[in-house]
Amino acid sequence: MIKKVVNGPDEAIKGIKDGMTLMLGGFGLCGIPENSILALRKNGAKDLTCISNNAGVDDFGLGLLLQTRQIKKMISSYVGENDLFEKLMLSGELEVDLIPQGTLAERCRASGAGIPAFFTPAGYGTEVAEGKEVRVFNGKPHILEHAFEADFAFVKAWKGDEAGNLIFKGTARNFNPMMAMAGKNTVAEVEELVPAGELDPNTVHTPGIFVQRIYQGEQYEKRIEQRTVRTRN
């Protein structure tokens, strides 16, 4: 089998160049590729375009690459948790393309699935639809959206095997499977890396064909953004 397992995040991001387009999985801080983001910061590649549902918080997740001004453009659906982000955007230092969350997910999937474009009702009649083709299906207007292209996709899974198969946990799955499909080079970091044959093929969420490099992350902070609890009565 061709060797997909790399030694760690530094080897995993080999080939990253200034100006590239990256996809990064996760929703909020849940299921983000923590270790790969740290390696990208260390690497210093700049003028990056990042496709990610959110932009992290000021001092974690993609916020770390905003601090170092490595990101030229963000393509996201919601960025409300990051003050630096808002400042950079309003000052024009950061280009921002905000798109509906479902459209973001579907444009990633489409890219990985060889579907160059599709119609969706989301965003019709809004800023999002500007300059886009409108067509009515079943009496309802839809807009044409295109697949994303990305040089690298960084995803994070719970378990993975040497063949690149991935299993996610809970709501940490989110955008990771579609981005894994979409990346020309998909780098998966996992909490636990096992030999091929240890994962039940029936429970694999992302088949190994979509993953080019895989490693076990050294440490996971898995920071919680909104710790909400109830008290035992």
């Binding site: 801080l29 659906s77 919601y78 969350q101 479902g102 009649g125 999002v128 989110n174 909104q226 909400t228």
Partner: protein
């Protein structure tokens, strides 16, 4: 006049047995606290869970189990996890029976604005544009007026839109209204609120037919 919990309580009466429901951030989230005893509904959160349960007990928080508001949650029996594409397949494909979300402005033809104030605030639309463009049954939970006392129910939205002609029902702190072809139709008033009060607080076209009952909450 209702408080936030009152609005949530009134919206909860719109729930029907077996409904799959998506609740937005803010007041909509509170609806989950007022599910009528005789029915069961399942909550979908667009980040990838169906069968969302209450907040975890202290010490049982799981960073891998959150809702769309990034809050730690739990999963009920019969829950399932899925990716974002599948989640929005549920939404766009109209498998979700009811969507409750907040709004900055709603217009008399059912347009809604809730994601951007040019030059001031741009948090992004998240899943709101997909939700409002897809759902047949959208209920807006909102304050009738803004802090300056100006109506948020307008002839036309001034802010960038989230969706056009999609809002069907509004539950505000003052009233329940249906969005009809001819404007906002007043269905119920909140306890202590007169029809006249609603008139004064509604800038968009208001339709008042016959006696308007008081909300039963």
């Amino acid at each position: 006049m209702l408080d936030k919990n009152g609005i949530a309580k009134r919206i909860a009466k719109e729930l029907q047995d077996g409904y799959f429901v998506n609740l937005g951030i803010g007041i909509p989230t509170l609806v989950a606290n007022y599910i009528p005893d005789n029915i069961e509904v399942e909550f979908q959160s667009e980040n990838g869970i169906l069968g969302m349960g209450p907040f975890p007990f202290e010490g049982e928080e799981d960073a891998d189990l959150i809702n769309a508001g990034k809050q730690t949650i739990t999963a009920l029996n019969g829950a399932s996890f899925f990716d974002s594409a599948t989640s929005f397949a549920m939404i766009r494909g109209q498998h979700v029976d009811m969507t409750v979300l907040g709004a900055m402005e709603v217009s008399e033809n059912g347009d809604i604005a809730n994601w951007k104030i040019p030059g001031k605030m741009v948090k992004g639309m998240g899943g709101a544009m997909d939700l409002v463009a897809s759902a047949d049954n959208i209920i807006v939970a909102m304050m009738h007026t803004n802090r300056a006392g100006e109506s948020k129910l307008l002839p036309k939205c001034g802010l960038p839109l989230t969706g056009v002609g999609c809002v069907k029902k509004i539950v505000s702190n003052m009233a329940v209204l249906e969005v009809t072809e001819n404007g906002f139709k007043l269905l119920e008033v909140a306890p202590g609120v007169s029809v006249e009060d609603v008139k004064n607080a509604t800038a968009g076209k208001l339709i008042i037919e016959g006696d308007i009952p008081e909300m039963d909450i």
